[in-house]
Symmetry: C2
Subunit: 434 residues, 2 copies
């Protein structure tokens, strides 16, 4: 277990944040369970870190004794307890060791015990997968702690892709959180996974009109874990191979074109069709896997009906696109001009829970919701011709508003101060008191 | 409109009943909309007619004037109002005309107006598709009215398959209701559809241990019609072609083997996987089509958990199989020994609605439910290890118990008496008073 000492003068630490990414071409299926090599390429947008990120402080101290330890949201665990966690730390430590071997003046950090404190600034109750941003933050923190050249390479450099492959060892989709903007995870062909890495498609600055709404859907049941779910799909779905072999390669091409051209119609259609197909192969799995519930279905209906209702002066085929990961929550991608109308529709058909303060219901760092008028039912009826009827309050528990954002950020990297001011770790090498 | 006269001495009539069939390999997709030729073969079991059938009386009378008319559940409509209905009647009339042309002594029934009265003995509230049994009954009634040789051929003869092709013109799956037992609809290859017919796989007497429970699920919304739904699937689903081309041919083979060997494990697995895949390609359709709701999903979970729970002395892998058509209702196929345990589970996890008499909730002509003890929660917990919790009363509205049954039956065929005793038509050529 962890020691509780003051940081030694030799100690180093790094604190970083890493973003959440939401795939528009879905990853579902591994061709190598241990190296986490996927059966198909995937593509995501990185969400802004203002209200959604993982923050991680890593410290290496020659005076630490015991085992490498991670405090995740306050709970300590030896890193060896998780094979994936151990794989990631060992891979980064090996890179540090190689550096030290080539330059004898470097501190022998690779020999020192590491302490890591990690937190998500979004509640786990939000139902968002935190493993992607969490493993991206871990890899980026250790890479900065160890002063690896890959960490200095920036989002345009190949070093970042190298780090993405290490994040992939922790959680497949984590590799995509090493970049901002629009990010492809190319499946690669090599058995050792060296070409199964994330690569940037376009930075966040490329398409600033695109925004996102995360709709957290109430769900009573615990879904199948994605690790075991995708194993069963690969083993039992007769349709999954067709998706891997034929459908996704074409969609990766289409999606990259859509992003490069900022063609929202192509982006939206491919996003929605790929979300549908991911859930279709889950249903073609035996026993079938269901992540969408009746509220998820109703949101799809509302989006479909809103898209089918003309808006004066708008010639696009789509105004908003839905996508669903391995759970009932919807993420909507949409041009900025439709954020307010869509919020009005959501507010009308999925009223806020009655037992939650309004500020907790709608997390809106960009203030689009400030003074946002409660829509009259007439206005809403004009917005979308739908047969949907309003749900009981609380069917959607929470709404988060995000933009497309940048990749991991270094908050601090250098000698350990233990001040707990920029990082999450106190002088004693455990989580800082708040 | 219909005339209201006494039947003339020359009038003829026929009254028949036809069964419901529930597919275990699903039909979804047409390669020819007008001839109703499918994109894949399908296979069904015919349910017993004791509580589920359509009954039809057809009369041809030289004194009828006006238009061919159908009374469906009491409401008259000229048959020309429905293209499909007109196609079916015209096809049968043409066969009669050909007979008359070859034998000048035959009454010229093909020149006479036809009145048809048809009823389903199951409430439309049951949510079961009535078009299959309805069109099968219509074709069989007219074939008997017209004394076509195909009508005399019995279930083993090729004439019945010829009639099935005419029922297909009304509603694709209706062709399978021309036979009892286990029935394949072979998709055929000819452009004119002459080889797209139903053929018997095995009669009901072949596998008498197999029974069915129909679970009618409450659903607030109206689903997409199957006609427009399957068009959209063929046009937009990237996975549907793989199903048509590769998956279904293998499953047709597997299913026939399962039935011929009375191999319930193979039957159950193929049935469940094919139901799942049908709904998967609906979800891969754009916009997506959902027929399963949260209650349907919960039934699948319960079946999956019950199958996974060992029963002393039973070595089979499966004890019950679910299948879902284009709606939320489940049909469970199961060996007789599991009817009572499954009823106990359903009764526990989906309690009867509180506003419906028990006899209306559970239609059980075979009396398996008589004195069936309300299970204790301990017993139920032993039956199936599940995390499911009981639903509110009425999530399942109605349960019907059926066996595998025979094909259409002739109630009467001959000169019109108009007595309304064996048929549905009164002396005046309209529905008999009850």
């Amino acid at each position: 277990m962890a020691t509780t000492a003051m940081p030694s003068a030799a100690a180093y630490e790094a604190t970083v944040t890493a973003p959440v990414n939401i795939a528009v071409i879905k990853y579902w299926g591994k061709r190598d369970e241990s190296l986490i090599l996927p059966t198909n390429s995937s593509l995501s947008a990185t969400l802004s870190q203002d209200i959604l990120h993982s923050k991680t402080t890593a410290r290496a101290d020659p005076n630490f004794t015991g085992a490498d330890t991670l405090w995740l949201n306050g709970t300590p665990e030896p890193m060896s307890a998780s094979k994936r966690l151990a794989n990631v730390v060992n891979a980064l430590r090996a890179k540090r060791a190689a550096l030290e071997a080539s330059d004898s003046l470097l501190p022998k950090m690779s020999k020192w015990i590491v302490h890591v404190v990690s937190e998500n600034n979004f509640p786990t109750a939000a139902g968002l997968a935190s493993s992607a941003s969490g493993f991206a933050a871990l890899v980026f923190a250790l890479a900065n702690l160890y002063q690896l050249p890959e960490a200095k390479d920036g989002e345009a450099g190949a070093g970042r892709s190298t780090l993405s492959a290490l994040a992939r060892l922790g959680s497949g989709s984590a590799c995509r959180s090493l970049f901002g903007g629009f990010v492809a995870w190319e499946m690669g062909t090599h058995a050792d996974g060296r070409d199964s890495v994330a690569v940037p498609v376009a930075p966040a600055s490329h398409w600033t009109d695109l925004e996102a709404l995360v709709l957290v859907v109430h769900d009573g049941r615990k879904g199948v874990s994605s690790t075991s779910g995708m194993q069963t799909t690969v083993q039992t779905s007769a349709l999954a191979q067709e998706r891997f072999k034929s459908v996704v390669p074409q969609r990766m091409f289409d999606m990259k074109q859509a992003i490069l051209r900022k063609d929202f119609d192509q982006f939206a259609e491919t996003t929605m069709m790929d979300s549908n197909q991911f859930h279709a192969i889950c249903l073609d799995t035996f026993p079938p896997i269901f992540y969408l519930n009746d509220v998820s279905r109703a949101i799809i209906q509302l989006v479909t009906d809103f898209n089918a209702t003309p808006v004066a002066g708008y010639t696009g085929k789509y105004k908003v696109a839905y996508t669903y990961d391995a759970g009932p929550n919807a993420v909507l991608y949409l041009p900025r001009q439709f954020v307010r109308p869509v919020l009005a529709l959501i507010q009308h058909y999925f009223p806020a829970p009655t037992d939650v303060p309004a500020a907790d219901y709608f997390a809106d760092p960009y203030k689009v919701g400030v003074n946002y008028p409660a829509p009259s039912s007439t206005n809403v009826a004009e917005l979308a011709k739908t047969k949907l009827t309003p749900h009981a309050p609380g069917a959607i528990k929470r709404i988060l508003h995000a933009k497309i954002g940048d990749g991991p950020r270094v908050v601090y990297a250098g000698p350990a101060t233990g001040a707990g001011e920029t990082g999450l770790m106190g002088k004693d090498g455990t989580p800082a008191k708040k």
